[in-house]
């Protein structure tokens, strides 16, 4: 019964080795999709190249469908899977900050590591910036911890919150994603880089 680690099939040390191997897969596919390039990542937000949306949502619905069906067939105990608690307001503010950081910096933390690994120089400054940003957060945390922990909603999912069944939400998300993909293809055709642009 999965998740295997939560049922004690192997210990912590082995889990670190699995972390390493999983990371290799993660970094590999990120780079294959072109996420090692800050230009390609930023192009998403100028409607020139919507790879970010396509890759992200394909990954999300793949994993989401996997979890849903494994859970439905009784092969996975979803309640044992770790997921963060929801803190609505801080996460909204954090998301907006992250969006700003994304277009200014050109990466998100994961893709910045990939970009460093293929030799790019700018993500090195970005990673140092992340360390500084986290350090600043740590130092001001005693003063903002009230805000940072406000509106706690615990572990809550969309089906639970809107009181709609899990399966229907999964179906709607897949529909939305497919609609998004069709829309992306249309937008790229209209505004995206043409073949001769050298991108």
């Amino acid at each position: 019964m999965s998740p295997f680690y939560k049922f004690g099939y192997f210990g912590d040390e082995a889990s670190f080795i699995i972390a390493f191997i999983t990371g290799i897969g993660f970094g590999f596919f990120l780079e294959k999709g072109g996420f090692g390039s800050g230009n390609k990542l930023a192009a998403q937000f100028y409607f020139k190249d919507l790879t970010v949306f396509k890759v992200m949502f394909t990954a999300i619905i793949t994993a989401m469908l996997g979890i849903f069906f494994l859970g439905a067939f009784g092969l996975m105990d979803i309640s044992m899977v770790y997921t963060t608690d929801t803190f609505m307001i801080p996460q909204i503010v954090g998301g907006l900050l992250l969006g700003l950081g994304f277009v200014v910096g050109g990466y998100c933390p994961g893709t910045s590591i990939v970009s460093c690994s293929i030799g790019r120089i700018d993500p090195i400054f970005y990673v140092i910036g992340i360390f500084v940003g986290i350090f600043i957060y740590g130092e001001v945390y005693p003063f903002i911890s009230g805000f940072a922990n406000s509106t706690p909603m615990g572990r809550i999912t969309i089906p639970e919150y809107f009181n709609i069944s899990y399966g229907i939400i999964v179906f709607l998300v897949v529909l939305m994603a497919i609609g998004g993909f069709i829309g992306s293809e249309w937008v790229e055709k209209k505004y995206g880089y043409k073949k001769g642009d050298g991108k």
Binding site: P3, S15, I18, A19, T22, G23, F26, G27, F28, L30, E31, K32, G36, N39, A42, A43, Q44, F45, T51, V55, M56, F57, T58, I60, V81, Y82, D85, T86, Q91, G94, L97, L98, G99, L100, G101, F102, V103, V104, G105, G106, Y107, G110, I118, G119, R120, I121, F125, Y126, G129, I130, G133, I136, Y137, G138, Y141, A148, M153, I158, Y161, F181
Partner: protein
């Protein structure tokens, strides 16, 4: 003669079809859920690194600060011996392997034509600071919240993800000269 030329040309290979790359990514994510009962992440590893760094330079301060204490525990465990730290090391290796076999390894700077390298570095640094702070508030980054939490249909993660896109699109206009 033609074969020799083919062998020598190590021009970068084209990127994979984004849907295929997304599928691969999704399967890795799913495997992580199935095997470990947790998803992927990136910013958490950097937090561990910061906490480890602070605890080395100013241990007393680190232990008395609620935020760092979360990563340091009671002081007996090395904060760097953490699942996400090893995962991020793997991300670096995986990215490098993919880049090597696709001939995309190059020491260059990612930026638009209008900006100098130096200007780009400043922006990258500032962007990183915003990211670091935002990721802590948001309880993760696009890997941890959007990908992992998104596939779990976590409410906060979806709110976070929508805000990331909203924020990025909203501010993109103001930094367009860096990229276009």
């Amino acid at each position: 003669m033609e074969n020799e030329i083919k062998k020598d040309s190590k021009s970068p290979k084209p990127y994979w079809n984004p849907y295929l790359a997304g599928l691969g990514l999704g399967l890795v994510l799913l495997a992580s859920f199935v095997i470990m009962g947790r998803g992927l992440g990136a910013s958490g590893a950097m937090s561990s690194a910061v906490a480890a760094g602070v605890s080395v330079v100013a241990p007393g301060h680190a232990m008395s600060n609620e935020f760092y204490k979360e990563y340091l525990g009671d002081g007996t465990k090395n904060p760097l011996k953490d699942w996400l730290v090893f995962e991020v090391i793997g991300v670096f290796v995986g990215g490098f392997l993919s880049g090597t076999f696709s001939h995309r390894i190059k020491r260059s700077v990612e930026k638009g034509p209008q900006y100098t390298d130096k200007k780009r570095f400043v922006f990258a640094f500032v962007g990183g600071i915003l990211m670091g702070f935002g990721a802590k508030l948001g309880r993760g980054c696009t890997s941890g919240q959007a990908l992992t939490g998104g596939s779990m249909l976590n409410l906060g993660s979806w709110a976070f993800m929508l805000c990331v896109f909203a924020g990025a699109y909203a501010f993109a206009y103001f930094v367009r000269r860096q990229w276009l």
